[in-house]
């Protein structure tokens, strides 16, 4: 936003402060600059500090979170919000929050910190490789593109929201766009510096040029290079007016390069598990508005539970929870999810059903038991629904490969990572057991 109101100062002091600020920002922002093997990036800053922000982080469930943001203006003033934004994004992702919740928090925090004319245009993406699902929030960035070899752009995700830090928390719209992804798809996210990049004749780079490149080279390992070459050709050695940041994200799961951070504890992590139990019951109105997963995960961590197995833990909690809500309480038919339009319709029905829900509950009980050289965590989830026949559901689900593509993979996945998975009651109670053993490690 324009020139900040600075009194005249000694140039050397300015330079020194710039240097310190730059070092701090680099350590905070660049620590998360595409450390993820599945994300390839092109970053061309216009000034010394890039007003663009690119962050990636791994969710405890193995999902990839990515934020591409574009602060108002350039340089130091543009980078001020980068510190709190990066911090919030990383911390909340590690705790298992969804991107809608992270966007809500970023909006509130940045709005509180920044002057009224500052904002952050941003797209937040969540790639769930297990479910092959993209969840996206776009406020003020150009269309995010889903591209496929041979087909070019198959889907566009436009900006549906105001940028972050403008709306008061009560008016903030955290609704997300959701779409199925295929393992060979690529996602293209970029700041407006790309489309607006002026050529020697003043013509912008533009959407058409980008779409042509995507049609010709929508292959991982080639697309980024093709765009980078076209950018160099177009700018013809001239400096940029605006920062340019672009990320090409693979929809195929890639192992995180950095191991997930393990929370610090003064207790020997390999000591025998402590015995405890805890439960949480959410009634109808609470089911629509509370995401219990970060809470439960936090609880398990504080109680010295199997956080070394946090990917498994999150996966089990997530699957059992959504199974109980979707199929137990809301009684939705997951077979509707098997193609993309059905998938959209499914999510709409789910949202409506949750909003209108007046009756029902889901109860999660956790019980940890010590055993020799390790421990065991029982996760029991009960819902108010009529129950279902797991064997019958499994037979139906394995009837065709196609059906497994978008739905029904959940419980199979849980079964594959747990010691046991048992359905009881009238089919409305599921108990999964995660066990661990330190001997032989």
């Amino acid at each position: 936003m324009g020139a900040p109101d600075l009194r005249p100062r000694a140039p050397e002091r300015d330079a020194r402060e710039q240097e310190v600020a730059e070092r701090v920002l680099r350590s905070v922002v660049h620590r998360g600059l595409a450390p993820d093997a599945g994300v390839r990036t092109l970053v061309v800053p216009a000034g010394r500090f890039n007003g663009d922000l690119l962050l990636t982080a791994r969710h405890p469930g193995g999902r990839l979170h990515l934020l591409l943001g574009d602060f108002v203006g350039h340089g130091l003033q543009a980078a001020i919000g980068a510190l709190p934004a990066a911090d919030t994004f990383r911390t909340m992702t590690a705790k298992g929050f969804s991107i809608g919740e992270i966007a809500t928090e970023l909006n509130a925090k940045l709005r509180e910190l920044l002057p009224p004319s500052f904002f952050l245009a941003a797209a937040l993406l969540e790639l769930d490789f297990e479910r092959r699902r993209l969840t996206l929030w776009n406020g003020g960035l150009p269309d995010v593109l889903q591209v496929r070899t041979g087909a070019g752009v198959v889907e566009r995700f436009p900006s549906l929201h105001l940028p972050l830090a403008i709306e008061p928390p009560a008016q903030f719209d955290a609704s997300t766009q959701v779409a199925p992804i295929a393992p060979d798809d690529l996602l293209l996210v970029h700041s407006d510096g790309l489309l607006d990049l002026r050529g020697p004749d003043g013509a912008p780079f533009g959407e058409e040029r980008l779409a042509r490149l995507v049609r010709a080279d929508a292959v991982d390992g080639r697309l980024l290079e093709a765009i980078a070459a076209a950018v160099e050709l177009h700018r013809a050695g001239r400096p940029l007016d605006d920062d340019l940041t672009l990320a090409v994200v693979a929809c195929r799961p890639v192992e995180p390069v950095e191991p997930l951070p393990t929370p610090r504890t003064d207790r020997d992590p390999q000591a025998a598990a402590l015995p405890w139990s805890a439960s949480l019951r959410l009634e109808a109105e609470a089911l629509a508005s509370i995401d219990p997963l970060p809470l439960l995960l936090q609880q398990v961590a504080e109680l010295h539970g199997p956080i070394h197995e946090r990917t498994t833990l999150f996966l089990v909690l997530q699957e059992l929870w959504s199974n109980a809500v979707d199929h137990g309480v809301l009684r939705l038919d997951s077979h509707q999810k098997r193609d993309a339009p059905g998938f959209d319709a499914y999510l709409e029905r789910r949202a409506t059903a949750l909003r209108d829900l007046r009756d029902g509950f889901v109860e999660i009980r956790l019980r940890q038991e010590p055993r020799e050289n390790g421990g065991r965590l029982r996760i029991r989830v009960e819902d108010s629904g009529p129950g279902f026949d797991l064997a019958h559901a499994r037979a139906k689900e394995s009837a065709t490969e196609e059906r497994l593509r978008l739905c029904g993979r959940g419980l199979e996945l849980v079964r594959s990572v747990c010691e046991s998975l048992v359905v009881s009651g009238r089919g409305n109670v599921i108990e999964a057991v995660i066990s661990w053993d330190w001997s032989g490690r």
Binding site: M1, G2, D70, F71, V72, A121, G140, P163
Partner: protein, 101 residues
Amino acid sequence: MSVHTCRSGDGAELTISVDGRFDFTVHEDFRLASENAATPAARYVVDLSHAEYVDSSALGMLLLLREHAGRTTRRVSIRNARPHVERVLTVANFHKLFVMA
């Protein structure tokens, strides 16, 4: 000067026109134009018919004007944006905050 102001006959409406580049270089002029009126206006119009370019700083200036005009009201309208300028406003979803005409 690339920022001009014009009061309606009854004094209730202040029109601010920006010519050429609407970016950080006109920040001070735009601020003076919106805030230094002898009496506050009831309505503000930002006329962009001669604005060739807007950047994110311009969007920040529009937010400041909205703040100045009393945030909760829709008392600020943006008029005559050219297609590429309108695209920038649309991507930022500014129609949720301003009356676009």
